[in-house]
Amino acid sequence: MNLLKGPSARAAAGFAGAAVVLFAIAPLALSDFRLGLLAKYLCVAIVAVGICLAWGRGGLLTLGQGVFFGLGGYAMAMHLKIADAGPGNLPDFMQLYGTATELPWWWKPFANPLFALAATVLLPMAVAALLGSFIFRRRVKGAYFAILSQALAAAFAIWLIGQQATTGGTNGLTDIQGFFGYALDDPVNQRMVYFVIAAVLLLLMALARQLIQSRYGELLVAVRDSEERVRFLGYDPANVKLVAYVVAAGMAGLAGALFVPAVGIISPALIGIVPSIEFVIGAAVGGRASLVGAVLGAIAVAWAKTALSEEFPAAWTYFQGLLFIVALAFLPGGLASLAGIVRRRRAAAEKKPAVIPVGEAA
């Protein structure tokens, strides 16, 4: 009986509704081109799921998610480039720039599809675990953490640009043709990629929800609000934060990996400081601490960017700047908090209707 009531039931209904929208309505209503764009936005939303966990719940302002997105993206793209080139051949850009006659050693394992797939998630998680254990154990936190993660994004992008012969430099890895044997220029296969991305998003949202609602999720909020206090309770806050950071990195890596077949490119411009901070803004606008808010915010901001930036690039930049300012200075809980504010207002109005003047309540 209880299954029909309570937050779990509401969440289940929400997931069912989202599944209907993503798997039935969107593919019917949208053209192939629009569906392709939606696939791209959903990748950004997957990153936002991780940001919601790490920043919204854990207070870790991860301004370097582009690094993990990029690691996942490059891992996938390297495999697809090798597969495109065919056995014994070098990827096209290496023939163009490079003097190398065979694959660099660190490319070779990516020829194996299973290795590459595992690497898209495990590589970012490993890097995050290594870095996080250094940073959190020495209690580098708050702004210091944010600046370091941003510096990491900058350094990674600069490093990629510098290694033109093996990473494609500024251009990145482009012109990806196939996805595990399926030709990506075929609209049917593009749809398949979209479905995979939508399924992964829903799956990761379910995973994140479980984490947020678990005892771990409560502890994470406790660490965010008072790290020192948690330490006196006998926990090591470094481990608590590390879990959220590593999970968020894995999600960003998976998003990057799925971005590659959806868009056909991965490049330093997609993972440096600016894109890294753009990942955060969507979550901030929607509501960093609310899973649904962060995901919808990410999709909305990514959509607005495409819609506005092509026709009015200048206006888009001003709009984006304003979004940051308004969302964070005046509505730190994001749009998701509006519902709560309205509910509280209404509750207050019902409790003491005589005290609140009519004009103010409206």
Binding site: I147, I161, I277, T317, G321, L322
Partner: protein, 298 residues
């Protein structure tokens, strides 16, 4: 031998630029704990101020000298305005300040693009500063650009001026009082909001001065602030907050490190190595090189 000296001096001049850029931050971030990502755009404002002045004043030397105080005022005013509009509402939320001021920085960059155009512009350096000085003659000469020496001198002068202001003037005493104990300063009759705004004015003004200096070593463009801001923040993070000497030492150390690593590897690898070095350093001293010790919990 000359190579080592040459790289060291290049490093020192990189360090001087870093120092100028980070000096304003040592006040706004280091003392007031405000992370102002638009600091880079205040540097840009100083650079464009130099550019505009050079168009209206004939002599390159005079216009540069005029630009120093004018850029200080322009960027300082921008900073004070930003503090009044936004930052004062956010003193207890440093991470939100970071993102809000990033939004401001985006808008200022676009503003620069709309006013001056997206392509970079150049200023003409005064003749005195275009030459080189030969430090070591002979077959293997070591020469140093005059403009680099000027920047070094400017950086030193700015540090001395700021440090004297903080130590000797009533304003400096008030700033330090507010930094150390905001509530106590308030009840002692100090208007903390005025002090905040003044400190922000000075810190942002120093960014403007840094902008003037940057016109001597590179082009002026809308994204010039973004390119330097992260390095500047890293200087403060490593130097430790609340102390000028940390900023000074770390700026020069990072400058020399960058220059030496660039020489032995490549620019991009050097960047990565410097960052790895910084993370390693923070393992040893997580609060930075120098830090004010208090017994506060956070």
């Amino acid at each position: 031998m000359t190579v080592i000296l040459g790289q060291t001096f290049t490093g020192i001049s990189i360090g001087a630029v870093l120092l100028l850029i980070a000096l304003g931050l040592s006040l706004t971030f280091g003392q007031m704990n405000v992370i102002n990502m638009a600091h880079g755009e205040f540097i840009m404002a100083g650079a464009y101020t130099t550019y505009v002045l050079q168009k209206s004043i004939a002599g390159a030397g005079i216009s540069l000298l005029v630009a120093l105080p004018v850029a200080f005022l322009v960027s300082g005013a921008l900073g004070a305005l930003l503090e009044w509009l936004l930052i004062r509402r956010l003193y207890l939320r440093p991470l939100d300040t970071l993102l809000v001021t990033w939004g401001v920085s985006l808008m200022l960059q676009q503003l620069a693009r709309d006013i001056f155009g997206a392509p970079n512009v150049q200023t003409r350096a005064p003749d005195v500063l275009t030459g080189n000085i030969t430090l070591i003659g002979g077959d293997d000469p070591l020469t140093v650009a005059n403009s680099r020496l000027f920047i070094l001198g400017l950086a030193v002068a700015a540090v001395v001026a700021l440090s004297l202001t903080l130590r000797l003037t009533p304003l400096g005493r008030r700033i330090r009082a507010v930094v150390q104990n905001r509530d106590l300063a308030e009840v002692s009759g100090i208007s903390t909001s005025t002090v905040d705004r003044t400190a922000f004015f000075i810190g942002s003004g120093l960014a403007g001065v840094a902008g003037v200096a940057l016109t001597l070593v590179g082009p002026i463009g809308p994204t010039m602030g973004t390119n330097v801001i992260i390095d500047a923040f890293l200087v403060i993070v490593v130097g430790g907050i609340g102390q000028l000497k940390g900023t000074v030492i770390v700026a020069f150390v990072l400058g020399v490190l960058q220059s030496v690593l660039e020489y032995s590897t490549t620019v991009s690898v050097a960047k990565v190595l410097v960052l790895v070095g910084i993370v390693a350093f923070l393992q040893w001293r997580p609060q930075g090189l120098y830090t004010l010790r208090t017994r506060s919990l956070v």
